[in-house]
Symmetry: C2
Subunit: 260 residues, 2 copies
């Protein structure tokens, strides 16, 4: 049984519910474009049941040229690069509904790896099937393009974050982003609690800081009553104030408004 189900749109492990729950990819696309019943059915058909992976399982290895695309159904994953010497930079997080490299994978070998954060459920779709789907349904293609746009915005924001802010702000900013993204897919409870398998080492490699320094920064944030943290359960006590110290602006995470 996967964790976090209680915050999600329902427990996909329960076969009784399978037909009823919004497919996470459908849900994601619907934040960008409106989909017809047939489009929803097509996506659902492709991504009904996935493969389950344990924590820290490498889904796609840097340098490979995958012949399929992965969609996260449950749980989380992250993109990363490793430096000779062992240092790791996390390049981004994938949440349910996100896919590992839409049409990108068609051409190229990956420049980074992707691994599961905690236990996760992932569907693999042969590239050709995805291409067919996109060809048949321009709305889906458009939705994915817009999603890619948001991804790029996030990348830009991360660059700004890592390059220009101090440790306290870096961490705050990342937590704000996380909170907003997870809220959008229903993974944050009313009191601001999010539960995810993110350890301090991952936070360090996300922000370009040291594990030790992350630890101390977290403590400071707790002391200031910005967050509460126990085990995997992180509660953002004061998102307003957290956003203020981070200089966080939601804009870049919102689906772009289509030109009229």
């Amino acid at each position: 049984m996967l964790q976090y189900a209680s915050f999600g749109r329902g427990d996909c492990d329960d076969p009784l519910f399978t037909g009823e729950i919004a497919n996470p990819l459908v849900a994601k696309l619907q934040r960008f474009v409106s989909l017809g019943a047939e489009e929803i059915a097509s996506i659902t058909a492709l991504s009904r049941s996935g493969q389950k992976f344990p924590a820290n399982h490498v889904i796609i290895e840097e340098g490979s040229r995958p012949d399929h695309v992965c969609i996260i159904l449950h749980g989380f994953a992250y993109r990363y690069k490793i430096l000779t010497g062992g240092r790791r930079q996390i390049l981004g997080y994938l949440v349910p509904g996100d896919l590992c490299d839409a049409h990108f994978a068609v051409f190229d070998q990956l420049d980074h790896s992707i691994a599961t954060l905690g236990d996760a459920e992932v569907v693999r779709i042969p590239i050709q099937e995805l291409l067919d789907l996109l060809a048949r349904h321009p709305a889906i293609e458009r939705g994915l393009s817009l999603a890619a746009l948001v991804d790029r915005s996030i990348l830009h924001e991360w660059l700004l974050n890592i390059g220009q802010r101090n440790a306290y702000q870096k961490l705050s900013h990342f937590l704000c982003e996380l909170s907003v993204r997870l809220k959008a897919i229903g993974y944050v409870s009313a009191d601001g609690t999010l539960e995810l398998p993110l350890n301090q080492a991952a936070l360090a490699d996300t922000t370009g800081l040291t594990l030790v320094h992350i630890n101390r920064t977290l403590q400071r944030m707790r002391a200031e009553s910005l967050i509460a943290l126990r085990g995997r359960r992180l509660t953002i006590l004061d998102l307003e104030r957290l956003a203020a110290v981070a200089g966080f602006e939601v804009g870049y995470l919102s689906p772009p408004v289509p030109a009229s």
Copy 2:
């Protein structure tokens, strides 16, 4: 008269030559896909003569929703974001042939600004015209998609660079990248000299370091005979060794090999 012409494919300011020189966008696309004569003609027609801007002129402002796309014909530009407080992060550089936001601009308002680095010549193409062009010539669209892929790789590499390497490596890595990119468009002379209007403040905001620290790092690199630097003229004396200290691997800059 624009600088750097001597390193480029010819002097585009000379009207006698205009018809003969490869259009920089054509040249760029040809590194990814093969173009027919008609495609080349179409592109050339769209981007024959541009508008000239002085140094540090903002071409596209963050938050605007441009109805056109810009192509750099001559000179350089950079993407950047500014933080309240004045800190600036440079997100990437545009060289001749690059465009400010291909099909991206269709949907969204920009999340960052773009400005010229030195004097530059830029064409503005109405989005609709570009869309028509892409619709008529799938090869061009494909070329731009591949170019976007490389852009993303670069962004990933920058994140790794800023997040995980030390000052010496950061700067070395950036210089390696610059050298390779400029060499690809013929802007590096045989002895490794590149001439571009990049001051130490820009290097600082590119790497997330301080101007003062950049200065001292450059001095160290000179002392180690890795580079020579006089005014705008940077010579990479030993690219091998520079790449070694930076942990630089060219791969991510190469056009992806199309799947067979």
